[in-house]
Each structure stands twice: as structure tokens, then as C-alpha cells.
Amino acid sequence: MSDPILKLEGVFTNIAQYHILQGVELTVPRGEVTMLLGRNGVGKTTTLRTIIGHWRAHQGSVMFDGQDITKLPTPAIARAGIGFVPEDMGIFADLTVEENMILAAVSGAIDDNRLQWLFTVFPALETFWKKDAGTLSGGQKQMLSIARAMIEERALYLIDEPTKGLAPAIITTMARAIKELKQQGASILLVEQNFAVAKALGDSANVMDDGRMAWSGQMAELTQDAELQERLMGLSMEAH
């Protein structure tokens, strides 16, 4: 494997008195879609939030592109080249879609070519460009959340359950957007509960259990082994 874009070694994260991450090991290869899977409450979201710096790892290290970002403040981590799409989408409801996008273009004005590309990926954004983001539907908000992370080129995208609660047609749009992002050379760490999506997008997979990495390997390996799925996640992908 070439040098990974992101590497977590022995990461422990506590939230108040709760020990959520207990020695997480994770490697995200360059230019691939890496899935982070597991049951609810095993620490997937906490892992992403620890990488972006919303929670602090009190032990272990987070290396991004050869740089130790474990103790960097969140804005510095983001500017180092990591885009983040949180589970709750993090939309600024009182700002218009346009204002959300202007804000996301951290380094200056919006690149028009990239915006036009995003309009072809997510046409709803162009339709509701001047509307308050709070008035969008759940699916449109999710599109905006991902588009906001994509408006500037980032080396790594952390995306937390982008298809949660969405209609099948919108899930297809999301999956296509993530594929296009990968084709452009970006690396993606994706938390996903929808196994069909995980199977379609993932190159490699990491399954968490109880704050630790229970299994890491190729996505194809996991999809072919029903017994492994049953053991790691308590259910088989064939059920989906």
C-alpha cells in the first residue's frame, strides 16, 4: 500500500466520564473510499469527530498526510485539507443556500467551474440557490451539506451517514456524487449504515465494535463472507 492519507494509531477518546474510543487503529489509503462500519453506538461518529478535532484524543495519534494533527485546533485541521460532513448535516438554516456555499469557500471566491459541476451533480442547489437552507427538504439539506464540503478541493473527506433517512432516488444521487469525488482523486472516509451503498462505494472497510476496530480489510472480502458480517455486525448484507 502507498503511504496512507490518514492514519490513526491507538486513539482513545473520552466524552465526559464515558470512554468511547479505546485504542482505535485506522488507515485510510489515498484515492480510495474507505468505509467505517459497525452497529449504532460503537464509536464511528466519535472517530470522525476526533479526526476533525471536535473531540480530543487523550491518547494515541492522528496523522494526516504525514503531519501530526492530533492536537491541532479544528480550523487548522480543516485548512490542512480535510472536509467534514457531519451526521446532522451542520446546515446553517438561517443562511441561504448561496450563503452556505460562499462560507464554505474558505480560501476566497467560489470557483465557478466547480460550482457548475456541483449544479450538475445536485440540481436542487441551483433551483433553491436564493432560498433559506432551513426551508430545504432533508434530502436537499444533505445535498447542500456534501456540496459545501466539495466546493473546495480537499485531500480527504469525512462523511457521516450521508444517506440516512433519504429516499432511494436521492441515495443514488449521493452515491454518484461520492463516486465522482473519488474519480477526481480525493480520499474519502465514509460512515454508512446502508450496506448496499457501502458495497457499491467502498474499496476497503473497517468495522468497529465497542470503541475498537474489530476488523479491517477489503470491502469485497466483507461482502462475500456472510458469516463474517454476522459476527461483526450481527446481520448479513444479504438481508439488504
Binding site: 471536535h54 480550523p75 480543516a78 446553517f92 438561517d94 443562511l95 462560507l103
Partner: protein, 343 residues
Amino acid sequence: MSAAPKHAPTMAQMSLAERLAPYAPILLVVGLVIAGFVAIPATSSWLTLTVSGLAMGMMIFIMASGLTLVFGLMDVINFGHGAFVSVGAFVGVSFLLLLEHMTGAPNLLWNLTALMVAIVGAMAATGLMGYAFERVIVKPVYGHHLKQILVTMGGLIVVEQLIIVLWGPEEIYITRPEALKGAITFAGAALEKYRLVAVAIGLVVFLAMRYTLRRTKIGLIVRAGVENGEMVQALGYNLRMVFIGVFVAGSALAGLGGVLWGLYQEVITAHMGNQTMILVFIVVIIGGLGSVEGCFIGALMVGLLQNYVAFLEPKAALISNIALMVAILMWRPMGMIPVVKAK
């Protein structure tokens, strides 16, 4: 690159009630003015009271606008905000006393120039003081409301005592610049010149703040930060630096409010800032934490109601604003234009 399916949603016209809902707070102000017109027998009295109420509202807005952003952006309860009002008034009045030759001349241009110098001086002093206040007093207590209340109250007391040390314990009586004394007559109503100036300055401040918040990137960062600070940081913006900037600007605005309020009352004391804080907090709460527009509309309502009720039933003036706050919170528990969601 593949294209997504054609997006052609059906757009439906909203009902009249839905379209009017966002304008309900401003319609309340209009309703209050109309109610005042109906209740006050003489039109000239109504006009005088309305201008007086608007002037008072504008000054409260100037003092409250910084506080609401500080509240909204970093969840900081600053009970020491009144200190900036007092210091602004004392610094501003000191400048006016130094420029007595300009304020005493019956020349509007000279008077306004002196007033501007006093305002700039007061804003610079309170802005610097705001920076020190944030670094020394507020910074150690982020995230702890009770400590914030205690320590900012302590800061207020220290500043009030420092004012007494520097300017003496006596209240200072001041006269307004010569050309701003007296009133002009319009439609049979006497409109105090100074109040008209206060209305004009308040409008300029509101429009400048609105422009900054709506049309500039720093304004977008502030508005987004009020709503979801964590996400603003995840986009790559250092919200702490933005907050310090807002704290300094809010302190400077409180200083401006102090100069205007001092000239309005024609007397200044070390405790004047603390005394105005009751109205300021009422305005911040009914406007909706973090909302500059809500703060503006709330301030106008408080100013107008206070003046109308004081004319109609002086004994009820004291409770009218509390009653207004209760009524608004029963209607919209998060304030008229809620920005910050319940935490």
C-alpha cells in the same frame, strides 16, 4: 461526468398568513404606533412621544446589539456589558468638555464634529477595554454560565469603582451641544433636535450592522457561528478570533450608546450602565438571542411602549416593559426572531 435526473419541483404559492409570518415582529411595531395614535388624544403629543420612543429605542438598540451577538455567538452571559456604557459616557463627556469651544458655539457643523470626536474617542476606549475584558475576565470562564455571571458582575463593580477613582464620586451634569438644544416644530408637535440626531445615528448603526452581517463574509461567519459554531470551525474559520472581534465591536457600540444615553439624560453616573442593563436584557430576550434584527425591533417596541405608557398612565410605565416581555415570550418563547436554538 454523469448528470443527475432533471430537477423540476412544483412550486406552490404560500398562504397570506405564511407569507406575513416573517414580518410579524415589524408589524407589531407598526401596530404599537397605531395603538398609540388611537390611545393618545392629541396628534401632536403622539408625534412627540413617537419620536421620543424611537430615539430611546435606537439608543437601547445600540447598547444591546453587541450583547446579543456575544450571547448568541459564544453563549457568554456578560453582566459586565453595562460597564462599557458607563465608561463610554465618561470618556465621551470628557472629550465634549475638552471641546467646549466647539460645543458651545451655535454652529451645527461644529457641534456635530465635536460629538463625532467624542463618539470616536469613547468607542476607541471601550473597544480597547472590551479586548482586555475578554482576555482577562471572560476567556477563563467559557462554557460556565454561573461563573460568567459572577465574574462579569465582578468586572462591572471594579470598572464602576475605577470610574469613581478617575472622575470622582459625584454625578456629572452636562449640557447638549448648542445647536442640538431645543426642539423643532413639525405638524404642531415639538420634536427635540437631539432625539432626531439619536434616531439618525441609531439608523446608521443598524443599517451598517445589517450590511456587514448580510453582505460581507465576516458577517456570514458571525451569523453562521451564532447558529452552529462547531460547523463554522470545521469549515476552517477560527471562530475564537471572530468572537474577540465581535466582543470588541460590541463593547465599542456600548460605548457609543453610553455617549448618546448620557447626552439624552444630561447627567452621567458610574452606575448608569448597570441601570440601563434591565432594558437592554429585556430587548435582547424579546428580540431573540443572537438576532440583530430582533434586537432592533425589540428596542423600538420597548422605547415606544415606555413613552406611550408613561404619558397615559405614569405608574404603569415601570411594569409595561416587563409585561411586554412576558407577552412576547408567551407568543414566541425563543424571542421574536429566534436564531440560537435551545441548548
